[in-house]
Amino acid sequence: MQALRETLRETWRFYRKTLTLVVTGTKEYYLWCLLLLCIMLLGFLFYLPQVRTGLITTNMKDQVVWGLYIANFTYLVGVAAAAVLLVVPAYIYQFGPIKEIVVLGELFAASSIIMALLFVMADLGRVDRFWHMFPFIGSMNFPASLLAWDVIVLNVYLVLNLLIPIYLLVKTYYGKEPNKKFIVPLVLFSIPMAVGIHTVTAFLYNGLPARPFWNASILAPRFLASAFCSGPAIIIIVFQILREYTFIKLEDRALFKIAELMAYAMFLNLFLLLSEMFKEYYSNTVHMASLKYLYEGLHGHNALVPWIWVGTIMNLVAFIIFLFPAMRKRLSTLNIGCILIIAGVWIEKGPGLVIPGFVPDPLGEIYEYIPNFRELFISFGIWATGFLIFTILMKVAIPIASGEFSHAKYIEERPASKS
């Protein structure tokens, strides 16, 4: 009983201290958080009419029922899956430089999943009925519906990517050794989970014979390949920013290792695109209409054509940069390559995947969907939410990981406290 009370008091104390960490910082930190909060508020204000009046406030129609929200959702699930590219070198190959940042990478994956889930919730017509999706309480259509699978695996992955880092960080804070028998199986489990979340999301699109553009076996491999390009690219950029502003130990070697793995993924991504194009253009059936719409335009409708070509060229240039070690191992060119691949994959996997699936519609009609400003602001709001969550997580995790924020130091500074 006494031990329980002590644990609770300690937990409260720890929470209070992390809260202190979060709300104090430099001027840049306050400005950054304020900016994100403003964007979040704006997004929320635009979201309210969507709930009150209906999804008619968006530009989605019966012909194109999924738009910017689901495009962002797909992209972000891929980004979250990319944490595996840190976990595997760190825990399987014991690659030292990455081990330093793997915990932070998992928190990055958690923020990404939160963003993805928020995008789905923004897209749902009746969020007030969300509980219908839960098993046992609601009526989850498992295993027939891939959306049900997605709900399960995304939430399991989120829990894993919060549980593992928080466990490790708390242990570090108290200067205790983590229980390997507990944590290692969980870490190993997160590897197939990472592949799993993106496979399930791919299968969600894949299993619809009504949409020939998505009904290609190649879709799941394409998803994984592009995920392992874009996610780590964001990690590379974000962690360099963190290295600027905090005291994390991040060797360039870690970044170069990630980049090397990305190069393979980029090649696969381009090769799979080539396979897709050959199959559609050479076989030349009616079902190539969607691909034609995307890359050439269909019956005069060509809104996406400039976007996809810019995206594809960005992917190509990024691949060339990553191919040559001289360019890959120089931070300036590496960063350019990263930005190119982030944008290129977003175009290819966001609007370049979701919208052509609906064009032409099952009865041959073409509706060109372009998001309106309301959808854009809601999307920005959700991205800002993800960034803010990541910032807050980093604000606590980095001091713990670097040893600056630890129980030992706390005791040192307050010798008279009854801890």
Binding site: K61, H299, G300, H301, I366, E368, I370
Partner: protein, 189 residues
């Protein structure tokens, strides 16, 4: 107009004069005469369908109000005095009014076998030439379906409820408006 087959009529006097066969031949001949005689002694029965009344123009029926006192002129010609609004476009090169309407009684239509039918069974007449459609109509798959499809409450419409019997080809109609286009910047298709 069917002419009763007078087979064996030539030998009738000789047969009748033969006393022994009188009791057999005469009843047989008499019943065959009755059996093959022209209407109104028809014994043919036709399947019944419950239909709403035929769509006569106001005051047109019964036709015998005018025609009972008129003589039927059997020559095919263009009508100049009455029924001038009727345009016959229905195999008009091969027949005319009195091929379907019974000359001696305009309240009836006549079938190929000489039977006379009332206007509320006009489907029998149409069915003589349009056999396939008549078969479909009887099964309930030709034409507009309304009301109940089962439970003994099925109803039928007459052919003439949808098709003008004198000029049956359906006229083109104005379509209802197309759906609203989803708003978009370009409309290039």
């Amino acid at each position: 107009m069917t002419i009763p087959q007078q087979a064996g009529l030539i030998s009738l006097p000789s047969i009748l004069s033969h006393g022994k066969l009188k009791r057999i031949i005469f009843p047989v001949l008499l019943s065959s005469l009755i059996g093959t005689s022209s209407p109104p002694f028809a014994k043919q029965t036709y399947e019944e369908f419950s239909v709403p009344p035929p769509p006569f123009k106001e005051g047109m029926f019964p036709c015998s109000n005018c025609h009972a006192s008129m003589e039927a002129k059997k020559k095919k010609r263009e009508l100049k005095e009455e029924h001038t609004t009727i345009q016959l476009r229905h195999a008009e090169t091969m027949r005319w009014c009195l091929d379907c309407h019974y000359g001696a009684n305009r309240d009836k239509l006549r079938l190929f076998n000489g039977d006379l039918i009332s206007f509320d069974k006009s489907y029998l007449l149409c069915g003589e030439c349009h056999g396939n459609i008549f078969k479909d109509w009887k099964a309930g798959i030709h034409g507009k379906r309304q009301g109940y499809f089962a439970g003994g409450k099925r109803t039928y419409l007459l052919c003439v409820h949808c098709h003008d019997s004198h000029s049956p080809r359906s006229k083109p109609i104005k379509p209802e408006p197309p759906p609203f286009r989803p708003k978009e910047k370009k409309d290039a298709k």
